[in-house]
């Protein structure tokens, strides 16, 4: 029984490695600034162990061009970098093939570097599979202000809104409390509670003019509520 299971699993694995191909992974898009460096990463998934004959190759196709040129190749343990094309002296291999990493570093970018970079990895005997492309976009300026103005305007307006609403409710609360303290003082002489004495002390400071103002405010509040 066990031997049958082992046999079927081995057969399935071998079949699977024949059915599933090598899968290459790169980024979708890379954004970089003029004059800066950019690292284009490339990795792959394969059912086989990483072979010593693993190969990575990078191709570059400028925007608007129909065909691409080869700019990088790693094979037989040696990395071959572009020494004639548009990337001579600017290309560096920063990957680790034994860890399935075939990344390259492009230095001192220019607008002419805009284009599509295609990575193709082969892991013998797993050689059938699609390659993967990463799009490079080179920007002019450092986006220091990107979105700052937008966020600032939105934040200020919403903050003002919240502030106005808070002040409105605070005013209503204060006025209501003053009215409450007013009515408490009338009943405070009858009941001898701690709160009554506290309210008396609070009122002792207030002028009779302020009391009249509070009373008129209360009337205004009531009329406003009626209007609503």
């Amino acid at each position: 029984m066990l031997s049958v299971l082992a046999l079927t699993s081995v057969v399935l694995l071998s079949l699977a490695s024949q059915i599933t191909a090598i899968v290459v992974y790169t980024s979708w898009e890379k954004h970089a600034l003029v004059g800066s460096d950019v690292r284009l990463s490339c990795s792959f998934f394969s059912w086989h162990w990483t072979s010593p004959d693993v190969t990575f190759s990078w191709q570059y196709r400028p925007d608007g061009a129909k065909e691409g040129i080869s700019i990088f190749h790693y094979g037989g343990g040696v990395a071959y970098v572009d020494n004639k094309g548009p990337f001579r002296d600017r290309l560096e291999f920063v990957g680790n093939p034994s860890r399935r990493d075939g990344s390259i570093l492009i230095k001192e970018l220019d607008f002419s570097d805009n284009g599509t970079f295609t990575c193709d990895a082969k892991n013998p005997p797993d050689i059938v599979g699609h390659s993967s492309s990463v799009r490079l976009l080179v920007f002019e300026k450092v986006p220091v202000q990107a979105g700052v103005v937008t966020g600032a305007i939105i934040g200020v307006v919403l903050g003002l809104l919240i502030l106005i609403v808070a002040i409105y409710y605070l005013m209503r609360f204060l006025v209501a409390r003053r009215v409450f303290s007013l009515s408490m003082s009338k009943h405070g002489k009858k009941g001898k509670g701690k709160e009554g004495t506290q309210q008396k002390q609070a009122l002792a400071v207030a002028d009779p003019v302020k009391l009249k103002a509070a009373a008129s405010e209360k009337k205004k509040q009531e009329s406003r509520r009626e209007k609503k």
Binding site: D63, G64, A146, I154, E226
Partner: protein
């Protein structure tokens, strides 16, 4: 009475939808099949793409902010309208709702005006205004009318 209420709600929801589409779709300008503006602008030049961040244009960021604020205020006014529908005194006017809706219409107007004034220097001759731009200009009178309706409307029964 119910018909007026339903019509008002439908108008408000239409405003909200138009504002959302106008703010989120990246189609204030179109050039053939590609559409630009309000959020990013990639143009082709000398065999390569040149993508400009909106940091190059402060007014474009202001338009972004105003459109977002208009959408937020329209949404807030709808929520406040639903609240006031149940809590308002009989015979009262939907004052808060109207304030927010009118503010939303002012923000949309400012955003659309700023974009209209500044974009001819910005765009190429072959560019055409896109549907999001048209929707923004359409949203302004609709929100204003909606706000005025809320000022006039009274809670009866």
């Amino acid at each position: 009475m119910l018909a007026i209420l339903v019509a008002t709600i439908v108008l408000h929801l239409t405003d909200l939808t138009i504002l959302f589409i106008s703010t989120c779709a990246n189609a204030w300008r179109t050039h053939g099949e590609s559409s630009y503006d309000l959020w990013y602008d990639c143009t082709q030049s000398n065999g390569g793409y040149r993508c400009l961040w909106t940091s190059d244009a402060d007014w474009l960021q202001a338009v972004q902010a105003l459109m977002v604020l208009a959408t937020i205020f329209c949404l807030l006014s709808f929520i406040i309208f639903l609240c006031q529908l149940f809590t308002l005194v009989k015979g009262g006017r939907f004052f808060f709702t109207a304030v927010f809706q009118v503010l939303a219409s002012l923000f949309v107007m400012s955003g659309a005006i700023i974009y209209t004034v500044m974009s001819p220097e910005w765009k190429k001759e072959s560019d055409v205004y896109g549907y999001a731009f048209v929707l923004a200009w359409l949203a302004f009178p609709l929100t204003l009318i909606s706000g005025i309706i809320y000022i006039v409307l009274r809670k009866k029964k």
